[in-house]
Symmetry: C2
Subunit: 206 residues, 2 copies
């Protein structure tokens, strides 16, 4: 099994490899990947070894085949279908972000509880009512949900998503979601990230 | 020294302890903290042991003193002064987020390169020109900068921030910043988080 800390680095490696492809590099070695990814060559070799053997000692990795390997491992060879639930400040910023498409994520549905937001067209999707969650998820084949609802609404919304078959949730609300073990959850905590930065300032006596 | 994986969990523990205080719990044990934080009691005890000895075997931790200890360690006993650089979709969502104040972060400056945004008032701060970056950082005593500028602008902006004494950067642009080792950097990658979720779906054959 691939260790969680390795999994966390795979998206960075894929981004570096796509950059290398854009620079028309046919082959890339672990030192070059480490430089682009901000890690070290030994870590790169170890991480990539979990994906199987395909680097050649002394030469490196074939860029195209490593891209294919990483995309397969991350399950992004086809666009994943994403719903954004909560079309407020954060939800609207994420919904209109062009950077998702190029990384294999397609926003196929946007849901909100506020009747004045329902029906507004954003790009090529219209905001739909949270009351239609089950129908929308089934109709659009939603695989991943991004929760940008207030904290007090998050658990109830997550329960409905899981009940209708959504297996992966990115949660921006500052509450821990209590969900079955087979549901994948990533918890965003922007304020927490800033506190970690503050920790490093404190260490330096600043 | 506190291990990086422990540091990453400290903001979660602080949030749990503040919740416990809100529930008027005078004392809390590692099992209860683990339940609230979504981790396990042994991990909690180990993590908190890096902050010094203050739990009592069999009774637990004094909520108020653990809050003080965690806040000191994270350097948030006083509000950290934060600048948001780039007042676009994401920057504007973050700027108006009320959740930062309660976690020790105060947005004291907002900067942008677009002349049509400069001068617009948002809450009690006005958007200022990126041309005034050095003056604004010095005037406001900015300690942490949040970068929500396009990828191609991020490195140049980061260099200017570091040159004028900013020691901590939260980067949302999808590029690795090349900065001196003593500058603390947190790299946000929302699309990468979604790819990690996709990895777990792929593992389940979905
Ligand atoms: N804005 C930020 O920068 C930021 C940063 C970190 C975390 N967060 C968290 O992200 C979440 C969203 O933040 P925001 O600033 O966008 O808030 P917001 O209030 O601007 O938006 C929330 C949206 O959710 C909708 N909503 C409420 N209940 C709902 C329900 N049951 N189902 C569907 N939609 C519902 C509201 O109508 C609104 O449009 C919050 O939990 C917040 O704590 C926000
Ligand atoms: N929107 C999202 O959901 C999202 C998600 C993940 C990552 N990102 C990344 O975050 C960054 C911001 O994204 P966005 O969607 O808010 O983009 P945006 O285009 O809406 O906003 C960018 C802002 O930066 C300003 N700007 C440009 N050059 C500048 C400079 N040199 N100095 C100061 N300001 C400058 C622009 O005037 C604009 O207001 C981008 O790098 C993007 O890739 C965005």
């Amino acid at each position: 099994a691939v260790p969680p800390t390795t999994v966390d680095r795979l998206p960075v490696y894929l981004r570096c490899l796509l950059q290398a492809k854009g620079m028309r590099m046919p082959v890339i070695n672990s030192v070059q990947i480490a430089e682009m990814a901000g890690t070290n060559a030994a870590q790169v070799r170890k991480d990539l070894s979990y994906l199987g053997e395909f680097g050649t000692r002394g030469i490196g990795y074939d860029v195209d085949s490593l891209i294919t390997q990483l995309s397969r491992c991350l399950g992004v060879t086809e666009q994943r279908r994403v719903a954004i639930v909560g079309y407020g400040r954060l939800g609207s910023a994420l919904q209109s972000y062009p950077g998702f498409e190029e990384r294999g994520m397609r926003v196929v549905a946007v849901l909100d509880a506020d009747p004045s937001k329902v029906g507004t067209a954003v790009n090529d999707t219209a905001v739909e009512s949270i009351d239609e969650l089950e129908a929308v998820v089934s109709r659009e084949g939603v695989e991943i949900a991004v929760l940008t609802v207030p904290a007090e609404a998050a658990q109830a919304v997550a329960n409905r998503l899981v009940a209708v078959g959504v297996g992966a949730i990115m949660n921006f609300a500052p509450v821990r979601l209590d969900l079955p073990a087979d549901v994948a959850v990533r918890q965003a905590d922007v304020a927490g990230e800033l506190q970690v930065l503050s920790f490093h300032l404190e260490l330096q006596g600043r």
